[in-house]
Amino acid sequence: MAKKGSALVIPLVSITLGFALGAVVLLATGRNPAAMFLALFQGFSGVNVSAGSFNPRYIGEFIIQSMPIILTGLSVGFAFRVGLFNIGAEGQFLAGSMGAIAAALWVKAPPGIHVVLVLLAAMAAGGLWGAIPGYLKARFNVHEVVMTIMMNYVALNLNNLLIVDVFGSADRIKTAMFPASALLRDPALSALTNGSRLNWGFVPVLLAVVAFWFVIDKTAFGYSLRAVGFNKDAAEYAGMKVNRNIVLSMIIAGAFAGLAGAVLTVGTFNYGRALPAMEGYGMDGIAVALVGGNAAIGIFLSGLLFGMLKAAQPLMQSQGIPKDIASIIQASIVLFVAMKHGIDFLIRKIGARKRAEEVSEALI
């Protein structure tokens, strides 16, 4: 078994290796890695080192890039704790987005209340989309991975169908604008960050992080969820309701991802969108959860890391660095985390050599 310390070591080593590999790819294709690191720095701090200027708009954009992927990270991480691999965060995200559009367009409510209803509708829709594979897993032992992959594409096409045929769209791409009462936007936040799209979405995001931590670490329910994740049979033997926990965990995971859909739909945008392809927020969530060790604070931090990577993409592109290097780095980090046995082995080997050196030094 891995030691406790490796919970931090593996992600840090993976992140370092991922960025190192990204730098090597840039060098091999004749680009300057330093420009990428400067773009990354500017992406989250707003400070342009070479020009010596500061623009808070970048900070706002960095935060809004991080918000949805922290939530999808919580979604994937929550399911992981119960031993389920939720590749379906992508579809639950889209379901949440559909719920948000419906509540934003069809519900009339005063400001302040409307937006809360929108968020709740999104969580309900995402939770429902997660409940389906959860129930099928509990009842028929249908593998959640393949099931949720299929449901992602059903959600994508359902979204496009609803946009055009149900919500109504003049150009077949966008719905009508949402009423202001449904939005997370606030001109004050935007003005604070020099016109960025920053909005109140960070409030539900922070609440979700705290809720994840509280439920998993501080409640008996969370304990029984983790017990199922560690050993299904032992949990069953100890009298825990394994099947109920599987369904509930997928509902909660779906609700997190659904909330991400709302944060994007009524925060970053103010209209529903038909999508030609997946946008990858659910896939980002997998990376966020894995690197964050499926724990609340870890997911929050790794969400910020990958949010920084996403926010810096336009800056990289403007400096002649293909923005897709960000996906290459993200994928390699995931790959390195997946190879944790290999990294463990490497660390132990280095550790053994060091100990051997110490011993030989002590002998001399």
């Binding site: 249908v142 299929m150 997998i286 993200q330 944790k340």
Partner: protein, 315 residues
């Protein structure tokens, strides 16, 4: 009826990459390695094929076929990452596959920017030329359907189905491959090198998925873009499940999914399908696969050890 006749060749064009990639998944899963990276491998194969074809088209009329070979090679190399992670480093196969899917999107578009200074490859002129079999194409009804202006990958798909069936069920290699997917410990006790067989399974799946991606881009597209493969690798995964991990089952499921996609194009001409939104057709393969998953659940149809980390000490 005439619509149906024109639809069949189109359905074949759509079905071929699905069938070929699903056969790839079959080899990998039969060896015990789950491969949800089929989508990513198809993207890499499609990119390599499109890039090579664009460069070679002014030089040789065989550019498309050299492009196909490049796609196969690229798919094999890319799948090696999955084999190394899953076999040598005992990585979770689903996570490794997910990483490859993310990597494929980033890597191909990155290379497009490096080589072509844009988000996609340059457009090729012809891609793969359609084939007509002289003589046979003159037969009424059957001729125009199967032998006139057929996209070459369709013949390849049929051939590969038969070949895959023969290899998996009629050769010692296939027997060993299946043994590793069912009970690797028992296979190892009979002297079969599990790691070697699993490498073979994954690399064959890389070659086939690379071929599928190459065929798809060169017959259905004018260039490689991030959206060129648009989920076909996942349809192939569904096709494998729907076809119960059997080559002829894969053929049947693949043809069915191909027809589902072709009908989306012709729906506006078919009276009882006119009212159905296009998205319903796009959804169909995924919905059917989801239903198949539920129906097959509880019955042991897939390779038993697929997805499990091989632990030599386990009994």
């Amino acid at each position: 009826m005439s619509i149906l006749l024109t639809m069949i060749p189109i359905a074949f064009v759509y079905a071929s990459p699905i069938i070929i990639a699903a056969l790839g998944g079959l080899f990998s899963e039969r060896s015990g390695i789950v491969n949800i990276a089929l989508e990513g491998i198809m993207m890499v194969g499609g990119f390599a094929a499109a890039a090579v074809t664009v460069v070679l088209e002014p030089l040789t009329p065989a550019a498309g076929y050299i492009g196909i070979l490049a796609g196969v090679a690229a798919g094999m190399v890319f799948s090696l990452i999955h084999a190394f992670a899953s076999v040598n480093l005992k990585a979770d196969q689903v996570i490794s596959g997910t990483a490859l899917n993310i990597l494929a999107g980033g890597l191909t578009v990155y290379l497009c920017q490096v080589f072509f200074n844009q988000q996609r490859t340059k457009a090729f002129r012809v891609g793969l030329v359609k084939l007509s079999v002289p003589g046979l194409s003159d037969i009424p009804v059957i001729g125009p359907l199967f032998f006139k202006d057929v996209s070459p990958p369709f013949y390849a798909a049929i051939l590969l189905v038969v070949l895959a069936w023969f290899v998996v069920y009629k050769t010692p290699f296939g027997l060993r491959l299946r043994a590793c997917g069912e009970h690797p410990q028992a296979a190892a006790s009979m002297g079969i090198k599990v790691a070697k067989m699993r490498y073979a399974g994954v690399v064959i799946s890389g070659a086939l998925a690379g071929l599928a991606g190459a065929a798809m881009v060169l017959t259905q597209d004018i260039q490689y873009t991030l959206a060129s493969v648009h989920g076909t690798g996942f349809i192939a995964l569904g096709c494998l499940i729907f076809g119960k991990w059997n080559p002829f089952g894969v053929l049947g499921a693949g043809l069915f999914f191909g027809f589902a996609q072709a009908s989306s194009i012709y729906a506006k001409d078919i009276p009882f399908l006119q009212a159905v939104p296009l998205e319903v057709f796009y959804m169909l393969p995924y919905v059917l696969t989801a239903i198949a998953l539920v129906v097959f659940s509880g019955k042991s149809v897939g390779p038993k050890a697929a997805g499990e980390i091989y632990d030599t000490g386990k009994r």
